[in-house]
């Protein structure tokens, strides 16, 4: 396939393109459909250290 004798290397080549296509399709379909908003009550800029240090 594609002039490459070793099927594992040919598979890697095809999978690279397929993976990029998957990313594009995901963005086109899921990216447009998704409508998650950030939390309405975002914490104010805080520098407080976490509690219960070991």
């Amino acid at each position: 396939m594609l002039g490459i004798e070793d099927p594992w290397v040919a598979a890697a080549y095809v999978l690279c393109v397929a993976a990029a296509a998957l990313c594009v399709l995901y963005s086109l379909f899921v990216g447009r459909a998704s409508d998650e908003e950030s939390p309405s009550s975002r914490a104010p800029e805080s520098s407080e250290a976490p509690r219960n240090n070991p």
Partner: protein
């Protein structure tokens, strides 16, 4: 043939325009930076295109293009499995599976750095500081590797001496990080990423055109398999369009474990826990931006990484057909039908006649190539290997070559026939895989592309280096010293420290062979440390509510310690370079010395996280509700 270092007014203008645009974008970042949130996480309002380009540009440095591209020139297209891992795991899994929960939890906990996210999730100041310390101590080495790569091109572009170029280059990058924060970093990343993509598109088109097309190019590359050097055949190399031989328990399987274990898994999985990458998930307003960034990110990585590996592998075809011509005598026929043979390289001196070319290693000196007169004194075979009284080791320079059929051999008086041939990329680049891609660019492509490619390498170096300076600065100023002490002014001070450390190590590294070797391995060392120390804590923190503070801390410590011990005592070549042992403790037990530390340390750190967490009390439900954004406002 033209040299990359020849600089004209037009080329100087191109570099200056590039630097001006970078400075302008850094200034834009500075203008938009008003508080810590702007400085550390770009105000949590980054555009998806900027996020995608910035993520890919930060990920792909000069080592990915020149270093790994050169590795593909040596090892072949099996490296495309790493490209696949980079897209599927580094982009798709990272953005879709990790990105959304990271953004949500980061916003809920108001985390400004990756260590702070871990520290606040598990309510552990120690975890935040320890993670920050790993970054502060080890990332500058990785940064130095990138800095040295970028300096090589910067010094050539402007005709500067190395030391001055190193300092100026590092200072330029530090300047827009210092003033512009993550906004400055991401705006410049986006520009640099776009430039890198443009260069890679042109490179890919040219490469396939020179190779005679996609299918024909791959087919012709496959026919060169007899030219694989014996030393690479011995570790499993079966040709540039074939996978290495698979198995365990013999050195002949080493290459498979290097490509699949260290490169594909080590880098492909390791990217998930790179702090400078994960912080980009904190920079967007909502998960929708991350979904939109996935497509661009996947395409960019395919272009940047895929092109480098395909070009590296196909460069062998170019050099066999059009590369420098070598003369010598045939010492072994590899493939008679294709005219492929091993030749002992010979050169003719106008006064002294023919000489055998020898590889010479003198104690305390770099290996060199020297003529030995008269040629074929010991017979028609290769110049035999011998150790001279002064400790010099000398052996014949024997290379695999495709003989030039149209060129009749020259017969010498002693009966030796001198033939002409061309060799593979590695030998055309004098044995240095890092020189394969630059040599290919300067010999095969038009001069204007050499300029574009050099700018894209500068861009690759600057985009990665800027993120490293920013991450080290944030780790020092916010994670190690502590939040609430000086705000982002302290982070700026941390950026200065990162710049001085990288520039200092980069300058010193040139004078110390040991430092050079450590820096060369620094990328792999840093990826390995982060992956095993952070992945279970990071992924567990995002998805497993039962994970406890003790589980997170012990997992991080186990991952770090096992990785460190494996690198110090077992993994070659790192254990030799780091010097605690002269050779791997498992040297007699192939293929353990080439097994990546990730394959050992990550399962152990994951197991530690699970066992220690289950043995302890669950965390406070109210805190968990806050982490997972389930707090409701008081009525």
């Amino acid at each position: 043939m033209h040299a990359l270092g020849e600089i004209s007014i037009g080329e100087l203008a191109a570099v200056l325009i590039y630097l001006f645009i970078t400075a302008y974008l850094g200034w834009l970042g500075y203008q938009g930076t008003k508080n810590s949130t702007d400085y550390m996480v770009a105000g949590r309002k980054a555009h998806p295109t900027v996020v995608a380009l910035s993520y890919a540009a930060t990920f792909i440095s000069t080592s990915a293009i020149v270093g790994f591209g050169g590795a593909a020139g040596m090892f072949g297209m099996s490296l495309l499995w790493l490209c696949f891992a980079n897209i599927l795991i580094g982009i798709f899994v990272a953005f879709v599976w990790l990105g959304r929960p990271t953004r949500r939890m980061g916003a809920a906990l108001d985390a400004h750095t990756f260590p702070e996210l871990l520290g606040r999730r598990f309510q552990s100041r120690f975890l935040q500081a320890f993670a920050g310390l790993i970054i502060v101590l080890f990332m500058p080495l990785y940064g130095t590797a990138v800095l040295i790569g970028g300096t090589e091109f910067f010094s050539q572009a402007l005709g500067l001496e190395y030391g001055a170029a190193l300092f100026i280059f590092a200072a330029l990058v530090a300047a827009y990080v210092f003033f512009g924060g993550l906004k400055g970093v991401m705006y410049t990343d986006a520009f640099q990423g776009a430039l890198m993509c443009l260069a890679m598109i042109v490179l890919l088109l040219f490469t396939y055109k020179l190779a005679g097309g996609v299918v024909e190019g791959h087919r012709a590359l496959g026919e060169l398999k007899a030219l694989v050097p014996a030393s690479l055949q011995a570790i499993g190399h079966r040709g540039w369009t074939a996978m290495p031989e698979f198995g365990f328990g013999s050195p002949k399987y080493n290459l498979w474990w290097i490509i699949v274990g260290s490169l594909t898994l080590g880098v492909g999985v390791g990217v998930l826990a790179q702090p400078q990458m994960a912080v980009r998930f904190l920079t967007v307003r909502s998960g929708r931006e991350l979904d939109r960034a996935v497509g661009l990110g996947g395409v960019f990585v395919l272009l940047l990484v895929g092109t480098s590996y395909v070009t590296g592998a196909l460069s062998n075809l170019y050099f066999i057909r059009h590369g420098p011509v070598f003369e010598g005598r045939v010492v072994k026929t590899l493939d008679a039908a294709r005219g492929q043979a091993l030749i002992q390289v010979m050169e003719k001196d106008p006064e002294r006649g023919w000489a055998d070319m020898a590889r010479v290693s003198r104690p305390g000196a770099k290996p060199a190539t020297e003529p030995v007169f008269p040629a074929a004194a010991a017979g028609k075979g290769p110049l035999p290997k011998e150790k001279l009284p002064d400790g010099t080791v000398r052996e014949g320079l024997v290379i695999p070559a495709a003989l030039i059929k149209d060129s009749p051999p020259t017969k010498l008086e002693n009966g030796v026939q001198v033939v002409q041939g061309r060799t593979i990329s590695l030998f055309a680049a004098k044995g240095l895989s890092d020189r394969i891609i630059p040599l290919y660019i300067t010999t095969a492509l038009p001069k204007w592309f050499g300029m574009l490619f050099m700018l894209s390498l500068l861009a690759a170096a600057m985009s990665t280096l800027s993120s490293q300076f920013h991450t080290v600065g944030a780790a020092l100023g916010r994670d190690v010293v502590g939040p609430g002490r000086g705000g982002f002014l302290l982070v700026r001070l941390g950026v200065l420290v990162a710049f001085l450390a990288a520039a200092g190590i980069g300058y010193y590294a040139r004078t110390s062979p040991m430092a050079v070797s450590v820096v060369a391995r620094a990328t792999a060392i840093f990826f390995g440390l982060c992956a095993s120390a952070f992945i279970p804590t990071f992924v567990g923190g995002l998805f497993w509510r039962r994970m406890t503070r003790a589980g997170a801390i012990s997992s991080t410590l186990v991952g770090f310690l096992v990785t460190a011990l494996w690198l110090l005592l077992v993994k070659t070549p790192e254990c030799r370079v780091l010097g605690l042992v002269s050779d791997s403790l498992l040297a007699g037990h192939p293929n353990w010395p080439v097994v990546d530390p990730l394959l050992v340390a990550l399962p152990l750190s994951a197991l530690t996280a699970v066992l220690v967490s289950l043995a302890g009390k669950p965390m406070d439900p109210a805190h968990l509700a806050r982490c997972f954004g389930e707090e409701t406002a008081n009525p």
